[in-house]
């Protein structure tokens, strides 16, 4: 009897000990986990720092060989003969592509957004929105293939002086690529406009749907719409594969869309795939071009966030 009691006592003591041990392990986990999670969160910060650091380091070392004024304001860009006089042709190419893309995407994207949010029934929306999402999910290399093998020959029939590699077909296809972005972000902004404004405020007073869309919904959702356009513009500027495949590789200070041009991104691809050794001048030049591109897109992203925050109308 006594014996039995003692074993029972021991086992209870053991259990308490074990429990304490478990609790200690538990406490250890409770302390360790947040630290681990914080470390993971810091990786994203380190990525940004890493990008800034690598871009700046190589860019500075590039500018010790090439004058900054020449690089940004010269007009003769032919790196393979050591002429780094000016990224102007590359910037012009990027702007030309973006301009064509925006001309295609803004009217179509906005009209689609107005149709989806103001006219379409719930059923049509459920069919059309996934289709637009498919358009957004197609890889850019596929768009590039489409631009080169379909759009370019098609436009070649219309414009006789058109090159096979040209800014127009690449720009149009970049535009098609960013349509879903403008359409869905603008539609979100328009759908956020409260129904009381539409139904009670305007439709009830006898306005047509078109008048409601233009005079009530569009002004109310304007900040979201502009933010979506700026964001899409930044996508177009950073777009790489379509322009590398279809726009050509001729740095060209021109605004003639039928010419072959080169963008900032396409030059980076060309510079990195050629025989470039580590720390050669061309190797450094792709970082200087990359830094320029990074600044462009960063400004637009911040602008987009600022517009949607600053001019947001709360209902």
């Amino acid at each position: 009897m006594v014996n039995k009691q003692s074993t029972a006592n021991i086992s209870v003591q053991d259990m308490i000990k074990q429990n304490k041990k478990k609790k200690n392990i538990g406490n250890g986990i409770e302390k360790f986990v947040p630290i681990f999670l914080l470390l993971c969160a810091i990786v994203s910060v380190l990525t940004t720092i890493g990008i800034l650091f690598t871009l700046l380091r190589e860019t500075f070392s590039f500018f010790s060989d090439v004058s900054l004024v020449d690089f940004y304001f010269g007009t003769h860009w032919s790196p393979w003969t050591d002429h780094f006089g000016g990224v102007a042709p590359l910037i012009a190419g990027t702007l030309l592509i973006s301009f064509i893309a925006i001309c295609v995407a803004v009217p179509i994207g906005l009209a689609s957004a107005i149709y989806l949010s103001e006219y379409a029934t719930e059923r049509t929306r459920k069919v059309i929105k996934p289709i637009l999402e498919v358009l957004a999910g197609i890889p850019t290399v596929v768009y590039g293939f489409f631009a080169l093998t379909f759009v370019s020959p098609l436009l070649g029939n219309i414009f006789s002086e058109m090159r096979i590699f040209n800014a127009l077909s690449a720009g149009i296809v970049v535009g098609i690529m960013i349509i879903p972005m403008i359409a869905s972000l603008s539609e979100d902004a328009m759908s956020a406009v409260p129904h009381s404004l539409r139904d009670g405020g305007a439709l009830g007073l006898g306005a047509t749907r078109f008048e409601v869309a233009i005079k009530v919904v569009l002004p109310a959702a304007l900040s979201g719409i502009i933010a979506s356009i700026v964001l899409a513009l930044s996508r177009a500027v950073g777009e790489t594969m379509i322009v590398t495949i279809a726009a050509g590789a001729t740095p060209n200070l021109t605004f003639n869309p039928t010419e072959s041009i080169q963008t900032l991104t396409a030059f980076i691809v060309q510079g990195a795939t050629g025989d470039t050794s580590f720390h050669s001048i061309i190797y450094k030049s792709i970082y200087a071009v990359g830094f320029t591109l990074f600044i462009f897109t960063l400004i637009m992203n911040i602008l987009s966030q600022y517009i949607s925050r600053r001019f947001k109308e709360d209902y």
Partner: protein, 290 residues
Amino acid sequence: MTQQINISQIKGRVTRNKIYKGIFILAISLAMLALATLLYRILSQGLGYLSIDFLKNYPAPYIEEAGIFAGLMGSVFMMCITAPVSIILGVSTALYLEEYATQNRFTRFIQVNVQNLAGIPSIVFGLLGLTLFVYLLAMGYTLIAGALTMSLLVLPVIVVASQEAIRSVPKEIREASIAMGATKWQTIWRIVLPASIPGIITGAILALSRAIGETAPPLIIVGAAAAIYTIPDSFLSKYTVMPIQIYSWTARPQEEWQFVAAAGIIVLLAILLCMNAVAVWIRNKFQKRY
């Protein structure tokens, strides 16, 4: 008299409404027409070249022998590294931001930073990978350097998707768990994560399927080559991926290679379609509404 003017005015407004509705429908049809043309072109060009041999062959100088096997396996191997790395980092970051972080400047900084990372062109990530992984860490033009670059590229997307999934778990069941005596980590591990895992997986699959399709710009920079005649046998072997193969076929001057490229695109699109279908299926099947 005035009534007549009014009626004609109203008629004009109604017709204008109809005309503009037509224009809007036309615009949206144009977008869908572009998609249809693109798919039709690719199917009509590529289907003839698509065969079992095309899936099994390595890239070759002759059209009849060219295949996408190296690219296919390269993409698969790359995902074997990119998926765990980016999901562990991404979900951990999201858990930290949603569950542990206090609202201070540093937290807001991480949050804004993640948003800005998502907006940086993918080719800039390629430049980071080139300096950091290829040269500084001396990995060279290898599979692991490419896969780590891709992990950093998809990280912000996975963070945002996981944050949304975690945020959608209602406060009440968290508080119930804490009230029962569970610790914070027990609550997260046993309550919050299981409830948010469908959302996280859906977001992760969508992000990774984007990574498979959009690998081309950063990977060209960190040295994925097109002429690879083996499948990768270690982290440090040379590799190629499907978009790079397609790019190299598209860039060839002879027109027949377009058909090979189209066949490659069909394979790529089929894989993306399957991944997206799985993601949608998981979302519909496991989505709990609280």
